[in-house]
Amino acid sequence: MTLVTATKRSARGAPRADGGRRPPPDHGAWFLVLPALIPILVLSVGPLLYGILLAFTDAQSGRTQPTQWIGGLNFRDLLHDTLFWESFRIGLVWAVGVTVPQFLLALGLALLLNQELRLRWLARALAIIPWAMPEVVVGVMWRLVYNPDAGVLNETLRDLGLGDGRDWLSGLGTALPAVIVVGVWAGMPQTTVALLAGLQNTPRELHEAAAMDGAGAWRRFRTVTWPALRPVALAITALNFIWNFNSFALVYVLTSGGPGGRTRLPMLFAYEEAFRYGQFGYAAAMGCVMVAVISVLLALFLVGRLRGGDDT
């Protein structure tokens, strides 16, 4: 999904091949559009608006009295809900901790895959395996890796004489870093493919000209590759941040939010609030707050990047 929007945005500025032609008004188009439009409105746009409304009600699951408007009461409660804000903080640590290494590692891999290396086709095929796997299986797999006794991580540590290892996923200090590594692993393929697409967009002639002028690899990257790659890089990073902040299945399988809530991402928190305790209205308010804060952070990030970007 990544690539989609990432590449889309980068492509937007470019002139279109069929730019000059203007199609005649076409009412038949409605018949082509309607079958997709109705489900989108009923099951995507509608629920989103309904969700925002729910945040201002006391909706609960399985209750008999009618739901009432309570204005901003949910939000006032949320403001003083320290558990929620702790979860929110963990969510931010997780999202930044996953997104940044994900980008750096994927950039390195994309640069390698863009070279004329032997066995590149094999590397490309292997590199996107994590993308094909169900998130639940990714979680299960890494549980096996992290397993204190039968896991390969502790066994490797023991072989290297680095001690007996530990129970990574239930240690208070290690649980969050351990799940972050899994997050990085799981999201690398999409990021790599998007960056690879961006790299193949960079003008090869410019590269060669710079090499002839004696520019080293780092200079060539900074002056030729990076400027061409930047729109894709920004878009994919922004999207990754959103996806990571909203991620659920991985951590649900790995730790279910434990130990002691150390890995309880906001999505897990809201899920429990809604479907374990049945507080629909309150959980919807959480969703609204998450969207609002993330939108503001992203806007700041993108504006800052776009402004200060000319020299980098």
Partner: protein, 277 residues
């Protein structure tokens, strides 16, 4: 471009490191799936099982209704893929060929929906489906999956439609073919491989999905494979590793096979979508 031999060696070493990082968890999963309980209990697990066994697979099928879950997953994924492609192809055609306000709004939705927070959507969705009597039903899940797979399907299809030269359609029109005739006998055949790839991708997306299935399917008879997989993990987080690994391995195979088939098309399609337009 020329690179020094030392640079080359460094590049291959880096590539190898990446491949090890990306591949080792999966290899460990496969290895664990074939180990005997005795070996799983020992403190020194090895990469190659000492006496490989299929017991874990047998036990996995005994412990959980894996076949039924796989059947449910298959139904949900096939349904979602078929419906998504059927309704997305016409819309993608309009988005690629016309520049109406509607096409722009659809493009905007594709972008914005990427940022949709699932929490905000799942609660109202749950209530809507409950009113329609579609909770704990695969039909309801298919509906959700269709909408969920739509943005990516649209993006892929728009790229494929753009790759079909509009001139071909115009030529057919000049030759006297009507709109429908042109679409059916000129555009559709050229688009077919792209449509298949899009459908297969929607299939994997639905096959792998967890969150909606967890919320919407209540009884074990209806649950899909990813949800049933989590039942192998006990309440205390203790899991019977062998059967868990075996079941997880089996659940991944369809995704891997399908992904291998469309891999080239997906990356290729994305690249062309990115480079063009």
């Amino acid at each position: 471009m020329r690179t020094s031999t030392g640079g080359r060696v460094g590049q291959y070493a880096a590539l190898l490191a990446y491949l090890v990082f990306l591949a080792f968890p999966f290899l460990w999963l496969v290895s664990t799936a074939f180990k005997s309980p005795r070996e799983l209990g020992s403190l020194h697990p090895s990469w190659i099982p000492e006496d490989p066994t299929l017991d874990n697979f047998r036990q996995a099928f005994d412990e959980q209704p894996l076949l039924r879950a796989a059947g449910n997953s298959l139904l949900a994924a096939l349904g979602a893929a078929l419906v998504a492609v059927l309704i997305a192809t016409p819309l993608a055609y309009v988005m690629a060929r016309r520049r109406t306000r509607l096409a722009k709004a659809a493009t905007g939705w594709v972008v914005v929906s990427q940022a949709f927070p699932l929490v905000l959507v799942i609660i109202p969705l749950f209530l809507v489906l409950k009113n329609l009597g579609l909770i704990n039903s695969l039909a309801g899940l298919v509906l959700v999956y269709v909408v969920w797979a739509l943005p990516f399907a649209l993006w892929m299809l728009v790229g494929y439609v753009r790759a079909v030269p509009a001139e071909l359609e115009e030529a057919a029109a000049v030759d006297g073919a009507g709109r429908v005739r042109t679409l059916v006998s000129v555009t559709a055949p050229l688009l077919a491989p792209g449509i298949v790839a899009t459908g297969l991708f929607a299939f994997i997306t639905a096959w792998n999905e967890f969150f909606f299935a967890l919320v919407l399917l209540k009884t074990p008879e209806k649950q899909t494979l990813p949800v049933v997989l989590t039942h192998f993990i006990g309440a205390e987080g203790v899991a019977d590793l062998g059967p868990l690994a075996a079941a997880a391995f089996l659940a991944t195979l369809p995704s891997l096979v399908v992904f291998a088939i469309i891999q080239r098309r997906i990356t290729g399609g994305m690249l062309s979508g990115a480079v063009k337009s």
